[in-house]
């Protein structure tokens, strides 16, 4: 399995990242070398092994349905680049 410049451009677009042509070539090479490394795993015989759906073999970290205090609004909005009337203010979007 390998990725092309097109794949890199597509993934960059999904992540809202912009790269120069030079960077695109560099990332394509780097991603391919990572994929090649990971491909080693396919040498292992996994027939009869259930595919894992999570990373850690740990179960059921659950909490009771009890209210804990929320943050003060001032605190909530403290890091917002822009705010108004208690709202986060963002560039106009359409649904």
């Amino acid at each position: 399995m390998s990725v092309s410049i097109k794949d890199v451009e597509y993934v960059a677009k999904l992540a809202r990242l912009e790269f120069s042509e030079k960077e695109k070539v560099k990332f394509t090479e780097e991603l391919n070398s990572i994929l090649k490394y990971v491909e080693k795993l396919s040498e292992v015989d996994t027939s009869g092994v259930e595919p894992a759906i999570g990373a850690y073999p740990m179960y059921n970290a659950l909490r009771e349905d009890e209210i804990s205090p929320s943050l003060d609004r001032e605190e909530i909005l403290k890091n917002a680049p822009d705010k108004q009337d208690g709202y986060f203010k963002v560039p106009k979007v359409i649904d």
Binding site: L14, R16, I53, G54, A55, Y56, P57, M58, Y59, N60, A61, L62, R63, E64, D65, E66, I67, S68, P69, S70, L71, R73, I76, L77, D82, Q84, D85, G86, Y87, F88, K89, V90, P91, K92, V93, I94, D95
Partner: protein, 475 residues
């Protein structure tokens, strides 16, 4: 050409928990903007989500009520997309391992009972709310992290009407289980639809179109009717139906393009690394199964068998748990089932609808309705007066006996008094008497009306009829 319409629905229901799905912030509605938030639901770096056990309980409860299998081992998934209402830039939901799958709902169609399959039910978090203004958009994250279940049906519905019936039944079942307050107007129940058409007899599915922004059951039915017609007309013109998302415009009564497949999202789901497995054992599932109340279908069958009610009455009475509870309380207080059912399906539902009220807004007690009916039975008041008393009772919540007494509405059954009244009316209306004598039986109705009017509706109609016949024969 004849077409077959194929519909599948995706329904989101907000769960009635006290706290959000991954943090302890309150889910209470209507707080000041951005006051029900914490590092977890704001997606601040370093915070970790912890699943609310009640969300799992409720989702399993809904799953069991909808005849689903419960997945013993599940994992949350990360769905990636950029939109300001999602502070983390991803939603924690479920992908390959939904908590519940393979269920069904039964609906009553003209062709008999029909099963509509449920493909899956999964748990996930709600997004925040965007407010769009002239210059900018404003975001309130109070709803971000509120627990939802998404219920995905199989493409088993064959008409917009079936889609509405499925939704009504789904709403009733969720309401009975108490896991959601299922108010479509308030957004605690939301519905998106997938719809395609194909020529009758064909086995292949047509290109499906997703329809969004339908805010009532009626809107769902209307939007799907419009969309089915649009697709059939396009097909007959030889046009290709494009796979796209369309928005229902309630005011214009049509669906309009939102985005086509080329712009469709690529969500890049992967197992949520901030969370671990959820394992549900038989004991947990069985304890929830035991807590299930009697569901609408079972209750409807019981009304037919136990109370001898017609299918139609039973269906309407059990469509809402609160309505069914009200009916049963009346019966427990000694009301005759069919009579109570007539009052509920007549005066009560009509008045509630006229005033856009719900059954829980009713001021009078079930026992008051039973008393009102028995006042008619005993002949204390007439049926016409009963409707007047009902209006008062509805308004004030007062005891009907008290209303009857205070307003002097007791029916007059005193033959002497009625005879006197009748003779007065007959003396005043010689023309009607002459008409009656000439064989115009209609005149009788007019005279009865005049007598009732003169008694202010209080004369006992049976006695009026009897004496009037006697008096007319004397003339």
């Amino acid at each position: 050409m004849d077409f077959e319409v194929i519909i599948g629905l995706e329904v989101h229901a907000e769960l009635s928990t006290n706290t959000k799905i991954y943090c302890g912030c309150t889910t209470e509605f209507g707080g000041e903007q951005n006051t029900h938030c914490c590092p977890v639901c704001l997606g601040l770096p370093g915070s970790l989500p912890v699943l609310n056990k009640k969300v799992v309980d409720y989702a399993i409860k809904a799953g069991l009520a909808l005849n689903c299998d419960i997945n013993r081992l599940t994992h949350m998934a990360r769905k990636n997309y950029f939109y300001p209402d999602t502070p983390k830039n991803y939603q924690i939901t479920q992908d390959e391992t939904p908590l519940c799958r393979d269920g069904y709902i039964e609906i009553e169609t003209e062709g008999g009972l029909k099963k509509i399959g449920i493909q899956r039910i999964h748990i996930e978090e709600d997004a925040g709310k965007n407010v769009h203004m002239e210059d900018s958009s404003y975001v309130d994250y109070n709803r971000a992290g509120v627990p939802l279940i998404e219920i995905v049906s199989k493409p088993d519905m064959r008409s917009p009407k079936e889609a509405r019936m499925y939704l009504e039944k789904l709403k009733a079942i969720l309401q009975y289980t108490g896991v959601s307050d299922v108010k479509m107007e308030e957004g605690s129940l939301r519905c998106d639809a997938n719809i395609s058409i194909r020529p009758e007899g064909s086995n292949e599915f047509g290109t499906k179109v997703e329809v969004k922004n339908m805010n009532s059951f009626r809107a769902v039915e209307r939007a799907l009717e419009y969309e089915a017609k649009r697709q059939m007309e396009a097909y007959e013109r030889g046009e290709k139906i494009i796979q796209e998302t369309r928005r229902w415009d309630e005011g214009r009564g049509e669906t309009v393009t939102m985005r086509s497949k080329e712009e469709a999202h690529d969500y890049r789901y992967f197992p949520e690394p901030d969370m671990i497995y959820l394992s549900v054992d038989d004991e947990w599932i069985e304890s929830i199964r035991k807590s299930l109340p009697e569901l609408p279908d079972a209750r409807r069958r019981r009304y037919i068998n136990e109370f001898g009610l017609p299918e139609y009455d039973s269906e309407i009475l059990t469509s809402s748990k609160k309505l069914a509870d009200f009916f049963e309380e009346c019966v427990n207080e000694g009301g005759r089932p069919k009579e109570i059912s007539n009052w509920i399906m007549g005066e009560i539902l009509r008045t509630l609808k006229d005033r856009s009220m719900e059954i829980e807004d009713i001021k009078f007690a079930p026992g008051h309705l039973v008393k009102l009916v028995s006042l008619v039975d005993k002949g204390t008041i007439s049926g016409t007066i009963a409707k007047k008393v009902f209006k008062d009772m509805f308004e004030t919540g007062e005891d009907p006996e008290k209303i009857v007494k205070e307003k002097g509405l007791v029916q007059v059954s005193d033959e002497g008094a009625i005879r006197e009244l009748i003779n007065k009316v007959l003396d005043e209306n010689p023309q009607s008497v002459a008409d009656f004598k000439a064989g115009k039986t209609k005149a009788m109705g007019f005279i009865v009306g005049q007598v009732m009017k003169a008694s202010k509706g209080k004369a006992n109609p049976q006695i009026v009829n009897k004496i009037l016949t006697e008096e007319l024969n004397k003339r």
